[in-house]
C-alpha cells in the first residue's frame, strides 16, 4: 500500500491479552467516531438540516432531509440517539441507505464479493511476486541489479495507487483498447455459455487487480529485500554457504524461509490496507465493489451507509490482525514446539 507512514509493526512483542485490549479499543474508537464526528463537526448532517455549510455547495433534497432526520433522530436527546445507535450495531441494523432506499446491510452484501475478488487476487499475486523479486534482489545485493530494482520499487511504492490505475487505464484501456474502461462485467452480455461470462469478468478484472498488485507488490518487495539482507548476514547463512551447497540452495533453502517467516504477519495485516485501497482503485475503474460504494456514500453524504461500511472495514482489519496473531506461532517451529510442551 502506498500510505505507510510507519515502518513495520511489532505486534509480536505484545502479549496476547494486550492485543485484545487494543482491538476492542480500536473498535470502540471507530464506533465513537462514527457517532460523534457527524454530530459535532461542521459539515455533518446537522449542518445540512439547519441551513447548509459555509460553502453551501451540497444540495440536499427534502426527501434526503427527511431520511436523515429519521436516521439521526436529531430531535431526541444525544443520549437516546446514542442508545439507538448502539442497539443498531448489535442487531446489524444500520438503517436504510439514503441513496439506495434499501437496508445498508443488503446494499453492502451485493457489492462485497467484487471487492473480495480483486483484493484476494491482488493479495496472492503481490505476495508471490513481491517475495520472489525481493529475494532475488537481496541475493544480488550489493550490485547494480539490486540497486536498480530497489530504486524502481522505492519509487513505485511512493506513487498513489489511483495514479497507477489511471495511467494503466489511459494506456491499456483507452488508447490500446485491450481492456474495458470500467465496470465488473459487460451489461446485458448476450451469451448462454458460462465461459463467456467468466472471460468477461476476467477481462474486467485485470486492470484493477494489476493496479492493486503493483502498489502492494512494491512494499512487500521492500520488506522482503530488507529482511533477506538482514538474514543473509546471519552466521547460519554463512555456515550454509560454507557447506558448499551452492548459492541457489542457500537462498532457496535458508534465506527465503527465514526472511519470509516474519513477513507472514505483515502480509496478512496488509490485506486490510488493500481493502482500504480498493476505494481508490474501484473509483478509477468504476468497479462495483464496496470501495466504489464508499466513495459514492462519501460524496452523497449517505451517513447510514458510511457507518455500515466503516464498521465492516474495521471489523475486517481487526479479524485480519487476529488471524495474523494466530498463524505466526503456528508457523514458527521455535514457538510451536514450546507451546506443545506447555500443553503436556
Amino acid at each position: 500500500m502506498v500510505f505507510h507512514f510507519g515502518i513495520t509493526r511489532c505486534s509480536l512483542s505484545m502479549s496476547k491479552s494486550k492485543q485484545i485490549y487494543t482491538y476492542v479499543g480500536v473498535l470502540v474508537f471507530v464506533l465513537l467516531l462514527n457517532f460523534w464526528l457527524p454530530r459535532l463537526l461542521p459539515g455533518g448532517p446537522a449542518d445540512f438540516l439547519t441551513g447548509g455549510t459555509e460553502d453551501g455547495a451540497i444540495f440536499v433534497s427534502e426527501a434526503q432531509k427527511e431520511a436523515m432526520l429519521t436516521y439521526y433522530n436529531l430531535n431526541d436527546s444525544l443520549w437516546v440517539q446514542f442508545l439507538t445507535y448502539v442497539k443498531g450495531i448489535f442487531t446489524l441494523d444500520f438503517g436504510l441507505s439514503i441513496n439506495y432506499k434499501t437496508p445498508v446491510f443488503d446494499v453492502i452484501l451485493v457489492r462485497l464479493p467484487w471487492t473480495l475478488l480483486i483484493v484476494g487476487a491482488a493479495t496472492v499475486l503481490s505476495t508471490i511476486i513481491g517475495i520472489l523479486i525481493g529475494l532475488f534482489s537481496a541475493w544480488r545485493y550489493p550490485g547494480k541489479t539490486d540497486r536498480s530494482l530497489f530504486l524502481t520499487m522505492l519509487g513505485l511504492s511512493a506513487i498513489p495507487e489511483f495514479l497507477i490505475g489511471m495511467i494503466l487505464l489511459i494506456l491499456l484501456a483507452s488508447n490500446l483498447q485491450w481492456f474495458p474502461l470500467g465496470g465488473a462485467e459487460t451489461a446485458f452480455l448476450r451469451s448462454d455459455y458460462w465461459l463467456d461470462h467468466v472471460l468477461d469478468v476476467g477481462k474486467h478484472l485485470v486492470l484493477p487487480v494489476v493496479t492493486l498488485t503493483i502498489g502492494n507488490l512494491a512494499s512487500i518487495y521492500l520488506l522482503m529485500r530488507n529482511e533477506s539482507i538482514r538474514v543473509r548476514n546471519e552466521p547460519f547463512i554463512e555456515f550454509a554457504a560454507a557447506k558448499g551447497i551452492g548459492e541457489r540452495a542457500v537462498v532457496r533453502g535458508h534465506v527465503a524461509r527465514n526472511a519470509a517467516l516474519p513477513l507472514v504477519t505483515i502480509i496478512v495485516i496488509r490485506i486490510g490496507g488493500l481493502l482500504a485501497g480498493s476505494v481508490l482503485v474501484e473509483t478509477v475503474f468504476s468497479y462495483p465493489g464496496i470501495g466504489k460504494l464508499l466513495q459514492e456514500a462519501i460524496l452523497a453524504r449517505d451517513y447510514p451507509l458510511l457507518h455500515g461500511l466503516f464498521l465492516l472495514l474495521t471489523v475486517f482489519v481487526l479479524l485480519l490482525n487476529m488471524i495474523a496473531d494466530i498463524i505466526y506461532p503456528w508457523l514458527d517451529p521455535r514457538i510451536r514446539v514450546a507451546k506443545r510442551g506447555d500443553g503436556q
Partner: protein, 543 residues
C-alpha cells in the same frame, strides 16, 4: 548524499520553484471561467483548458502550492508529534503506557481507512485535512524514537549526565537529539511524501476543499466526465498533474532512502555448488609449491577499504598436524581463518592460499577448493551456525555429497552422530531443542560427514560453558587424530593451544610473529597459562 538522493532533491527543488514563482506568471486565476471549453494548449492557455474553460496552467501552478504546503504542514505536525511524544514516552514510564496504547490503536487501522473515516464526516477544508493527516500519522516513528531513547537512556554518557544533575532539556538536546536526528529527518521526508500522496488521493475521491486548486482535484474533474477518455484531451488535462504527482512522490521517496550498511567482510553468496571430483594429478610445479603441506599461504594480505587487517605473511601447515593459530582478540585470527576458507570477498585478498592443495582465491575448475569435501570449517557458535527453521537432519543431508539416496544419507548421518555420542533422533530435532553441548557435537559430526582432509575450527568452543568446552574440544582432537585429518585451530586460549597443538602460530596485529619472538612470548605466558590450565582442569575433573 547518494546520486539517487541528489536526483530526488533536484526534482523537488524544481517543484518548489514552480510553486513559488508559477502563480506570479500565471495570467488567469485558477477557477475563472473565461476560456473556451476543452481548448488545447495555446498561447493564451499554456496548458489548455478544462470542460468549464478554466485555465489549466494556473490550476497546475496553484496546485503545486497547495500540494507542497499541505505536505510541509503535515510533515511538520506529524514529525513534531512523533519526536516529542517519542521522547516523552521514552523518558517517563507513566506516560509511556498511555502513549504506547494510543499508538497501537492508531496503527491497527490502515491510515487510509482512518483518514477516510475522519475526513468523510468532517467535510473537507484544507486545514482540517492537514490536522487530520498530522494528528493520525505520528505513531510509527514515535515508537522508533521511543525505542531509541529507551536504549540510549541506559548508555553511560546519558547516565553520567544525569548523575551530574544535567537538566533534562540539556540532556535531550546534547545527548539524545544527535542520535535520533536521522530518524526525525527520515520521518519528515516520509511524512511529506505520504501527505502529498494522500492529499492527491483524497481530492481524487472528491474529498477536499472544492475551492482550493490541487493536482488531485484536477484529475477528479477529468474523471468525473466520462467523455474525456474518448477524446485526445487527456493529453493536456491528465498528463501534467499526473506527472507532477509522480515526480514529487518518487523524488521524496528517493530523498528519504535510509542508509543501509553494506557488508564488506562477507563474500558474495554467488558460488557454485561443491562437486565430488576425481583425484587430480598435480603438475610437478604444483606439487613443489604445495609440498606436503595441508595449508600453504604465500604473501597473503587482507585489506578492507584502507584498513589492513592482515599484513603480507606466509606459512605452511604440515599435513596431519594439529596447528593452533593464536593471538589476542583483534589480531586477525578469525579473518585469517575465514580467508583460508574463502569466506572473504575476493577483492579484499591478495596473495595466494592453498588448502588441501586447492587454490582458495582466483582458482578455476578442479583446482578450486570444493567446500566441505576438501576441507570443512567450524564456526564459533554452534547455536547460531544451524538454521533455526530446519531440522538438523536436513542440514546434514544437504551437505552430504558422497551419498545419494535419502536412506543412505540417513544411515551415514546416524553413524557419524554415534561417533560423537549423539543419538540418531537428533536428526529429527530443531536446533533450539538441543543443548549447546549437543549442538557443538552435532556441528563436529557435520564437519566430519564428508571426511575432508582439512578442518578449520574458529574458536569452536568459545560459546560453550567450561565443562562442555573441554568435552567438545577433546572429542574434536580425538576425531581429527582418528581420521588423520589436519586441524587448524583458531583460539585465544593459550593453555588450550599448548594442551592440544603440535605446532603454534602466533598472530599479532595482523603480523605473524617470528619464531624467536614467539618462543619468548610463549615462555612469558606459559607459566601463567599452565596455572590457569591446572586450575581449570581441577575444576572440570574434580568438580
Amino acid at each position: 548524499m547518494k546520486r539517487s538522493q541528489k536526483i530526488g532533491f533536484f526534482i523537488l527543488v524544481i517543484f518548489v520553484f514552480i510553486a513559488i514563482f508559477g502563480p506570479m506568471i500565471a495570467t488567469h486565476t485558477p477557477f475563472a471561467i473565461d476560456g473556451e471549453s476543452m481548448a488545447a494548449p495555446s498561447e493564451v492557455n499554456w496548458f489548455g483548458t478544462n470542460k468549464l474553460g478554466q485555465d489549466l496552467f494556473s490550476q497546475f501552478v496553484y496546485g503545486a502550492r497547495t500540494t507542497l504546503l499541505i505536505g510541509l504542514a503535515v510533515a511538520l505536525i506529524s514529525t513534531t508529534l512523533s519526536a516529542i511524544l517519542g521522547l516523552l514516552a521514552g523518558y517517563s514510564s507513566k506516560l509511556d503506557t498511555l502513549l504506547n496504547s494510543i499508538a497501537n490503536m492508531l496503527m491497527v487501522l490502515p491510515s487510509l481507512l482512518l483518514i477516510l473515516i475522519v475526513a468523510s464526516f468532517s467535510g473537507g477544508g484544507t486545514w482540517q485535512l492537514i490536522w487530520t493527516l498530522g494528528l493520525l500519522t505520528w505513531p510509527g516513528y514515535m515508537r522508533l524514537i521511543r525505542a531509541s531513547v529507551l536504549s540510549l537512556k541506559e548508555r553511560e554518557f546519558v547516565k553520567a549526565a544525569q548523575l551530574y544533575q544535567g537538566n533534562t532539556f540539556y540532556i535531550i538536546r546534547k545527548h539524545l537529539l544527535p542520535f535520533i536526528w536521522p530518524l526525525i529527518k527520515t520521518k519528515f521526508i516520509i511524512s511529506f511524501q505520504a501527505a502529498v500522496a494522500m492529499e492527491a488521493s483524497l481530492s481524487f475521491l472528491g474529498i477536499g476543499d472544492p475551492n482550493v486548486p490541487s493536482w488531485g482535484k484536477m484529475l477528479q474533474d477529468v474523471f468525473s466526465q466520462s467523455s474525456t477518455l474518448l477524446t485526445d484531451s487527456w493529453k493536456w488535462t491528465v498528463v501534467p498533474p499526473t506527472l507532477a504527482i509522480l515526480f514529487v512522490t518518487t523524488a521524496l521517496a528517493l530523498l528519504g532512502e535510509s542508509k543501509q550498511d553494506g557488508t564488506i567482510t562477507t563474500a558474495s553468496l554467488r558460488r557454485k555448488k561443491s562437486k565430488v571430483l576425481p583425484p587430480v594429478v598435480c603438475t610437478a610445479g604444483e606439487v613443489a609449491s604445495s609440498g606436503m603441506s595441508a595449508i600453504s599461504v604465500k604473501n597473503l594480505s587482507v585489506v578492507y577499504g584502507d584498513r589492513t587487517i592482515i599484513h603480507p605473511l606466509s606459512f605452511e601447515v604440515t599435513s596431519g598436524n594439529v596447528t593452533a593459530l593464536i593471538g589476542e582478540s583483534g589480531s586477525g585470527k578469525t579473518t585469517m581463518a575465514r580467508t583460508l576458507y574463502g569466506l572473504l570477498p575476493e577483492e579484499t585478498v591478495t596473495g595466494e592460499a592453498y588448502v588441501a592443495g586447492k587454490r582458495i582465491y582466483r582458482g578455476e575448475g578442479q583446482v578450486t577448493l570444493q567446500r566441505w569435501l576438501d576441507a570443512a570449517y567450524i564456526f564459533q557458535d554452534p547455536r547460531s551456525s544451524f538454521d533455526p527453521l530446519l531440522k538438523i537432519g536436513k542440514q546434514f543431508y544437504e551437505a552430504m555429497l558422497l551419498y545419494h539416496t535419502p536412506i543412505e544419507k540417513r544411515e551415514a548421518a546416524a553413524q557419524i552422530l554415534r561417533e560423537v555420542q549423539l543419538d540418531e533422533a537428533v536428526l529429527d530435532c530443531y536446533p533450539h531443542e538441543l543443548s549447546g553441548g549437543m549442538l557443538g557435537r552435532a556441528l563436529l559430526a557435520l564437519a566430519l560427514v564428508n571426511k575432508p582432509s582439512v578442518l578449520i575450527a574458529d574458536e569452536p568452543t568459545s560459546a560453550l560453558d567450561p565443562i562442555v568446552k573441554r568435552e567438545v574440544l577433546d572429542l574434536l582432537i580425538k576425531k581429527v587424530r582418528e581420521h588423520h585429518m589436519t586441524l587448524l585451530l583458531i583460539t585465544h586460549d593459550l593453555s588450550m593451544a599448548l594442551h592440544v597443538a603440535d605446532e603454534i602460530l602466533l598472530l599479532q596485529d595482523g603480523h605473524l610473529v617470528a619464531e624467536k619472538d614467539k618462543q619468548r612470548y610463549l615462555q612469558r605466558y606459559k607459566p601463567l597459562s599452565i596455572r590457569q590450565l591446572g586450575y581449570q582442569a581441577e575444576k572440570t575433573w574434580e568438580g
